[in-house]
């Protein structure tokens, strides 16, 4: 009985904390944009463009963490390859931005990006066609990672690869992609990746206004993804997903086709990660195969586990907090960052199994129960 009450209360909590999160996100976005564009440079309230870009980056990471939380927190699928979907989304955006450079490249070739001229290529590879159109590129941002996630998920979940095995093969997937993208022959800029972008949809990428616009867009996408995910998780579909996480074989026995639920959720999550990647690239100005490295994917999982799983806002909070710590740490003690990150991994898994959110919620619960 009490258990039941807790679940209901938790649902309310979920809604309430979500509302707080959205209000904070909205407030910060408006405040930062306003202080960057309208407050003069010398005022102490001025927010520098550097900060805006940094915040925009955090928001992209938050969206990425959200996508991992959707599959890991709610469905128990620990993907160690979500960085791959993020990077693929980034590459599709990068390809569009590359085509936008046009004749302004170092070699001044009207069609071929610099690195292709450098490699002595004579014409554009077929998979680069169409990326001069923004619409097509954005479509590809969703389609390419989704197709990969579908193929991978369909193969894996249908043959009931679960748990640790699944984690290992997702890691192998991103590792294989990393090796592939490092090759010059792949046609994605090899080691150096895609960079030197000039503008997006005709707006200069270096200007403050474009930066603020990208930052606001990231915030809007994060909010939308958050609301959509919340909706999904509270629907009947979401209930089944939770059931799969807690007792897959029972759910299957009742008659649910669990693999269909898992595949569709995996594809949805991959699409979210890809959107995060596509928003990330114009803000940081580069995408390279390093984004596919297994370490990156595991870091995402740590953000989620620091924040707390299966709450959505926990993942967002974790991503922002860890990345803020990373920015601070790498600036002041570059060598110690890996120590800190490592300690974070060990510490959260042992001491905070439910993350920071779980830690604070737990405190509140204890006091409520006592009262």
């Amino acid at each position: 009985m009490m258990h039941h009450n807790r679940e209901v209360a938790r649902g309310d909590n979920f809604q309430k904390n979500g509302r707080i999160f959205l209000i904070v996100l909205f407030g910060v976005t408006i405040y930062a944009s306003f202080c960057n564009l309208l407050v003069p440079d010398d005022s102490i309230f001025h927010v520098s463009t550097y900060t805006i870009t940094l915040l925009g980056k955090y928001l992209c990471f938050a969206l990425l963490a959200l996508s991992v939380d959707v599959v890991w927190g709610y469905c128990g699928i620990l993907s160690l390859g979500h960085g791959a979907f993020f990077a693929l989304g980034g590459y599709t955006m990068g390809m569009y931005l590359m085509r936008q450079i046009g004749e302004r490249g170092v070699y001044g070739h009207p069609i071929l990006p610099d690195f292709m001229v450098f490699l002595n290529w004579k014409e554009l590879p077929w998979f680069w066609y169409g990326f001069d159109s923004f619409g097509f590129a954005m479509l590809m941002t969703l389609v390419v990672p989704s197709v990969l996630a579908f193929a991978f998920g369909w193969l894996a979940f249908r043959s009931r690869v679960t748990g640790v095995y699944l984690s290992i093969i997702t890691q192998a997937m991103t590792y294989a992609l990393m090796l592939a993208f490092f090759r010059n022959e792949m046609g994605f800029g090899g080691n150096n990746g895609l960079t030197d972008f000039k503008d997006i949809l005709g707006f200069d990428l270096q200007s403050d206004k474009t930066r603020v616009a990208l930052f606001c867009l990231s915030a809007v996408m994060l909010a939308m993804a958050y609301l959509l995910s919340q909706l999904i998780m509270q629907s009947r579909y979401g209930r089944v997903v939770l059931a799969i996480r807690d007792a897959e074989s029972r759910t299957r026995s009742i008659g649910f086709k669990t693999e269909n639920y898992k595949v569709s959720l995996f594809v949805y999550s991959a699409a979210l990660a890809a959107i995060a990647g596509a928003l990330y690239v114009p803000q940081v100005g580069i995408i390279n195969p390093g984004e596919f490295s297994p370490l990156n994917s595991i870091e995402i999982v740590v953000w989620v586990s620091v924040g707390g799983r299966a709450t959505l806002y926990g993942a967002v909070a974790g991503a922002v907090l860890v990345n803020y710590a990373k920015t601070k740490f790498t600036a002041e003690f570059p060598d110690e960052w890996l120590f800190a990150l490592g300690a974070l991994f060990v510490g959260t898994t042992i001491l905070l199994p439910k993350g920071l959110i779980g830690f604070f919620d737990g405190k509140k619960w204890r006091s409520v129960r006592r009262g």
Binding site: L78, S159, V161, I168, A172, Y175, A176
Partner: protein, 543 residues
């Protein structure tokens, strides 16, 4: 009365004195000849050089230095030296006669003994004659091998002359081959050319194939170089046979490379097969335990600078201990608290791997370090000109199998092994039978970690040692374990070798990176088909 003994002893004394004296005289003669080199005119040099031939192998270093244009004499005492320019612009002097340490000299203190092309030709001939008639079999064989790459008229004449006195079978067969190659090119007699083809048939030296190729080529007018139909037919057959043989040995060579890669995969995956396969713990720090082992080898080498030859033998047990203890600590303070939560274990051990990496980076610097291989590990076993096995890979192959056998022995024949298997099959039951499961867990993990350390020592012989050493192998080693089947050391072995060989056979078609990618994709697909690997564990324990 003359005692026969006294007579013979006199004879012996006489002989000893004679031999000694003649040696001294020869020595004296050599030294005199060498002294003449200092300051000699270019015109006078051929005569002096010709005299040096009688001194045999003793003159070789000097002649070789002269050929390289590195022969100088010191102005102060007219001592003949070989001088090599150092990085600073000075010259490092090498005493060719007594092996004294002469240190370095500036350019002004020494003067070069200049040689011209004619003299070089003469020197080459003398070197060839000396080495071809050397008492050492190895020297003679090397000399013949060198000459095979340069079969000009003069060399052939020399080889023909040597052919008369040579007794060693292997060298004789090489000499015959060289002569046959010359016959094939220059002899007009059809009979001799046909016989020559018989002699070179099936030889794998590159020069043989080249000669046959040029024989079968067309010349500028489009007519065949070889005008005799019969000879051409035989040459064609011989070439086909040689090419077949070469491709056969290439396959063998590739299998060897595959086995070698497989043995490395096996070594790094064996420890994982214990921690992951037997205990069910995903240890992402496994690669870093390997790295610790490799650094142990490096540190042992620093501590025992005088005995490079044996430091690796010290390093193996030490690396086992270091990585094993580290593993026990990890088990004791982290993994124990995460039992039954494999995904969390994965994350925590990954954190440990980051900490270990950064620790090593802070202690040893992020630069790669080199562990020097002992001489018995370098070099290669040459079976024929296209197929050779390098000793380090050969030893590592053997070592990997030994490690695997030892582990199998520990798991099957010792009390610890029995307990380990019991705990992995049914923890609660094992505990109720009095097995101290926590202790067994720690020891099992330590065992797996120790094997990782040993693998690190082996790796240190193949690549440079750096903080990222372990990361490079972690994905591959998981693939091996998963492919082979969890909880089965034989599966790990088959998995390792299969993946190694598959990789090496794909490589010539696709290049190394794509081969790696294809293997990964293959395994991803394979796991879908057989989620528990090649050799799944059967029975109730496997849920």
């Amino acid at each position: 009365m003359n005692h026969p003994w006294r007579n013979s002893s006199r004879l012996i004394t006489f002989l000893v004195i004679y031999v000694f004296a003649s040696l001294c005289l020869a020595d004296e003669e050599f030294n005199v000849n060498v002294k003449q080199l200092a300051g000699a005119k270019l015109r006078a040099l051929p005569v002096i050089v010709a005299k040096l031939e009688s001194s045999g192998e003793r003159a070789l270093p000097l002649l070789r230095a002269m050929l390289d244009g590195a022969l100088y004499y010191r102005k102060s005492d007219k001592r003949i030296v070989a001088a090599y320019r150092t990085g600073t612009g000075d010259f490092r002097l090498d005493d060719l006669l007594q092996g004294l340490d002469l240190k370095v000299a500036s350019k002004r203190e020494i003067k070069k003994i200049v040689v011209n092309n004619r003299l070089r030709g003469q020197i080459r001939k003398i070197i060839a004659r000396i080495t071809l008639t050397s008492k050492e079999r190895v020297v003679r064989e090397l000399a013949v091998d060198n000459m095979l790459n340069d079969l000009n008229k003069a060399n052939i004449a020399l080889l023909r002359a040597v052919r008369q006195s040579e007794k060693d079978g292997d060298i004789l067969s090489k000499l015959d081959m060289a002569i046959a190659l010359d016959d094939l090119k220059h002899n007009d007699s059809r009979q001799i050319r046909l016989a020559a083809i018989d002699i070179i048939d099936g030889r794998l030296q590159p020069v043989v194939l080249n000669t046959l190729n040029s024989l079968l080529d067309m010349d500028a007018e489009g007519t065949p170089v070889e005008n005799d139909e019969e000879v051409r037919k035989r040459a064609l057959a011989a070439r086909e046979f040689i090419e077949l043989k070469i491709s056969f040995y290439e396959v063998l060579q590739r299998i060897f490379y595959g086995l070698s890669l497989g043995s490395i995969l096996l070594l790094i995956a064996t420890g994982l097969a214990i921690t992951f396969g037997v205990m069910g713990v995903i240890n992402m720090a496994h690669g870093e335990l390997i790295m610790l082992g490799a650094y142990t080898a490096y540190v042992v080498q620093l501590l025992l600078p005088g005995s490079i030859e044996y430091s690796i033998l010290v390093a193996i047990p030490l690396a086992f201990t270091v990585s094993g203890l580290c593993g026990i600590l990890i088990e004791r303070y982290v993994i124990r608290y995460l039992r039954g939560r494999p995904l969390e274990t994965l994350l925590a051990t990954f954190g440990i791997s980051l900490i270990l990496q950064q620790t090593v980076r802070s202690v040893f610097s992020p630069l790669n370090r080199q562990v020097i291989s002992p001489s018995w590990l370098s070099g290669s076993l040459e079976i024929n000109p296209v197929f050779s096995l390098t000793y380090n890979r050969l030893y590592i192959l053997a070592f990997a199998i030994i490690v695997l056998l030892c582990l199998q022995l520990v798991l099957k024949k010792t009390k610890l092994g029995l307990q380990v298997r019991a705990v992995s099959q049914n923890r609660a039951m094992a505990r109720s039978m009095g097995v101290r499961t926590e202790r067994v867990d720690a020891l099992t993990f330590g065992l797996g970690a120790g094997v990782a350390g040993v693998a690190g020592v082996a790796l240190s012989q193949l690549t440079n040692v750096g903080p990222n050493l372990g990361q490079a192998y972690i994905v591959d080693s998981f693939m091996v374990v998963v492919f082979g089947g969890v909880g089965n050391l034989w599966g790990t072995m088959v998995g390792g070798f299969t993946l190694g060989i598959a990789n090496k056979f794909l490589e010539p078609m696709t290049g190394p990176v794509l081969a790696n990618i294809f293997v990964l994709i293959f395994i991803i697909l394979f796991i879908q088909k057989r989620p528990s690997g090649l050799f799944p564990q059967r029975g109730r324990a496997t849920e």
